[in-house]
């Protein structure tokens, strides 16, 4: 009885509501049906070309393995909220984090430049730069040989595992900064400062990046360190001049070595060429001499054949030719009479340069006598 009455009471109470619903349905049932269909389809999502989407069904990831969890670009069918929730992540976008934890001025990390107490300036170096570093305000790292260097880096990363990054990993920038710093501190700690500042830089970056990635994996960050760049790697300001001096000494040494090598490179071929020229000349002379000798020998043999046939004539001819040659090539010829009694007594002959050759002959002769 009582129940019947309460029902009818509810009915009476609900009457205006049901009247409203009925009226609404009659007027707008197409609208309502359309809305219901649209709601049912609202889970369908478009995944863009640079994105990967994961589906949460009642909050739980759909799919057992990361490969099954991740849906590539295209249409993705899912139930409407609150059953399914779709998370789209841009996995191809590379983001950048500057890492200045080890930089000389770490104003971004700490509470900005700390005002110095007036009495704190007493250990200034010769250049007016403070000869120390406050570890709380100045970032730096120790190298393997206990030198101090400042490092500024830029880490670039992208999301590799969207589910891990979105739901389980630490905040990307926090974990990156910490892992990269730790990896760099450790990698610097096993190298000498000279390697770090010269040819070891690539090694340093590679080692640090590898360590940082291992750390990111251990931290389940879902991130991939796509590149690590050293934007600055320098010794402390107070020591910059000393480091530069080593550098310039090195360059000077290299230059003088290069000069010496250039000297050697030009001196040896020059000497070689000189020697070659001399040898060539000697060979030429030798073959010349040989040819002359052979010619002379042939001429002599020919002469000899003639001589054997007519010894007296040939001899006479040769002798006459020689005397003619001698008489014609001599610049002065003086004739003197034969000695009287086998000797000349006090005869003087003056012989001068060729222009005096025209002197009268008698002068000498008269002087002689």
């Amino acid at each position: 009885m009582r129940r019947q009455k309460s029902l009818s009471e509810i009915g009476r109470f609900m009457a205006p509501v049901s009247l409203l619903l009925d009226g609404a349905w009659q007027r707008m049932h197409w609208w309502v049906a359309t809305m219901a269909v649209l709601y049912a389809l609202s889970g369908i999502t478009i995944v863009r070309s640079d994105e990967v989407a994961v589906i949460l069904r009642w909050g739980q990831l759909v799919g057992e393995t990361p490969a099954l969890q991740q849906h590539g670009p295209g249409l993705l069918f899912a139930f409407p909220r609150p059953v399914d929730e779709i998370l789209r992540v841009q996995v191809k976008r590379i983001s950048e984090v500057p890492v200045t934890t080890l930089a000389a001025a770490t104003s971004t990390m700490e509470s900005g430049p700390v005002p110095q107490a007036p009495g704190e300036d007493d250990d200034e170096g010769p250049s007016g730069i403070r000869e120390t570093l406050d570890p709380l305000t100045r970032g730096y790292a120790l190298t393997g040989d206990e030198n101090i260097v400042h490092v500024e880096m830029v880490a670039r990363y992208r999301v590799r595992d969207p589910a891990e990054w979105a739901f389980y990993g630490p905040k990307a920038e926090d974990v990156l900064r910490a892992e990269v710093t730790a990896a760099m501190v450790r990698s610097l700690g096993e190298m000498g400062v000279d390697r770090v500042l010269s040819d070891g830089r690539k090694d340093l970056i590679a080692t640090a990046a590898r360590r940082a990635q291992a750390g990111l994996d251990t931290a389940h960050s879902g991130l991939e360190l796509s590149s690590l760049e050293l934007t600055r790697l320098s010794p402390p300001v107070a020591l910059a001049a000393d480091f530069d001096a080593v550098q310039s000494a090195f360059i000077t040494a290299e230059t003088s070595k290069k000069d010496a090598e250039a000297y050697a490179a030009s001196a040896i071929p020059n000497v070689q060429a000189e020697a070659d020229t001399l040898l060539q000349a000697a060979r030429g002379t030798a073959s010349n001499d040989l040819a002359t000798a052979q010619g002379d020998a042939a001429a002599f043999q020919a002469l000899d054949r003639e001589y054997r046939a007519n010894p007296v004539v040939v001899r006479e001819r040769l002798y006459r030719d020689a005397v003619d040659r001698a008489l014609s090539s001599a610049s002065q010829i003086r004739w003197v009479p034969p000695p009287i009694g086998g000797s000349y007594h006090g005869m003087r002959i003056t012989v001068g340069p060729s222009d005096t050759g025209t002197e009268p002959l008698g002068e000498g002769g008269s002087g002689g006598r």
Binding site: S18, E131, L133, P135, A166, A245, A286
Partner: protein
């Protein structure tokens, strides 16, 4: 008309059921998202923690209540603490911890929120770091000799000495500890600068000396080589000249051997040619040839 009445009745039933269902569902269902945990309390007393993502159930309010906890990993960097290594060197170290809530129940009861957890972690980590680094030399942290370095070991020691306690006492799961910073106390840096400067000067001097030495070595080697080449050339030249002289001598000897008398005669005539040149003055007796021929003609 009857059809319309029927449709309306059905519609009312469906709408009513759906509405009721939705109300019941929202009162009893607990949706645990990935990366979250939900702590369910009954009359304020913690009942259980739903850590698995998905749909869970509870009794409706006011019997059960739910609190959700963020189970994501977090990075906490400790403060910079000065400590002493085994070889009595002062260093300033800072570590960072990757942690997450490991046991929601213990975490909620013992700590409650993130900043309190980090406060506890800081204390734990500082103690552990002082203890662990006190057992190693500085060369275990920085050294150019790879066999000295023990950073991996130090980090796992730190983890071993903090993780079990953090989980048991605070419900905090420490997953990774790494040394993030290694520095020297301000007053020690001056000494390090001094050492660095001395080392730099030594290097500069070394480079200077080495450069000079190397350059003079290269130069003198080149000079030596040049002298060697010259000597070799001279030797070769002498050989060629000698051989040629010998050959020439042999040719003349072979030729003259056939008539030494004629040779002697022609040689004398050649000598005469050489003797009488443009600057020679000849003094001849008038009774010698060819003048004598003229005389004898005159005399006839």
């Amino acid at each position: 008309m009857v059809d319309a009445m029927k449709t309306q009745r059905w519609l009312r039933a469906i709408v009513g059921t759906l509405a009721l269902g939705a109300i019941v569902f929202s009162a009893t269902a607990v949706v645990v998202k990935e990366g979250q945990a939900v702590l369910i309390t009954r009359f304020g007393r913690p009942l259980r923690a739903a850590t698995q993502a998905g749909l869970h159930w509870k009794l409706p309010w006011p019997i059960d209540a739910e609190t959700s906890l963020d189970m994501r990993r977090r990075v906490y960097e400790t403060g910079q603490t000065e400590m002493l290594t085994r070889d009595k060197k002062n260093i300033i170290a800072r570590t960072f911890v990757v942690w997450r809530i490991g046991d929601p129940l213990t975490f909620t009861q013992a700590i409650g929120n993130q900043s309190a957890a980090e406060g506890k972690l800081d204390g734990l980590m500082t103690n552990a770091a002082i203890g662990t680094l006190g057992g190693h030399d500085l060369s275990a942290l920085v050294s150019t000799n790879p066999s000295d370095l023990q950073v991996d070991q130090i980090e796992s020691e730190l983890l071993a000495s903090t993780a079990p306690m953090a989980l048991r006492n605070y419900g905090v799961m420490v997953e990774q500890i790494r040394l993030e910073r290694l520095a020297l106390p301000e007053e020690n840096v001056t000494a390090v600068f001094g050492q660095m400067r001395a080392e730099r000067r030594q290097f500069a001097a070394k480079f200077d000396a080495e450069g000079l030495r190397e350059a003079s070595r290269i130069r003198s080697e080149a000079d030596l080589e040049a002298a060697r080449i010259r000597a070799k050339g001279a030797e070769e030249q002498a050989r060629i000249v000698g051989e040629s002289a010998a050959q020439v001598a042999k040719i003349y000897a072979d030729a003259h051997r056939i008539d030494p008398d004629l040779y002697r005669f022609t040689r004398s005539l050649d000598s005469l040619d050489k003797l009488v040149t443009g600057s020679t003055s000849l003094i001849l007796r008038t009774d010698s040839e060819p003048f004598s021929l003229l005389q004898s003609k005159e005399g006839k």
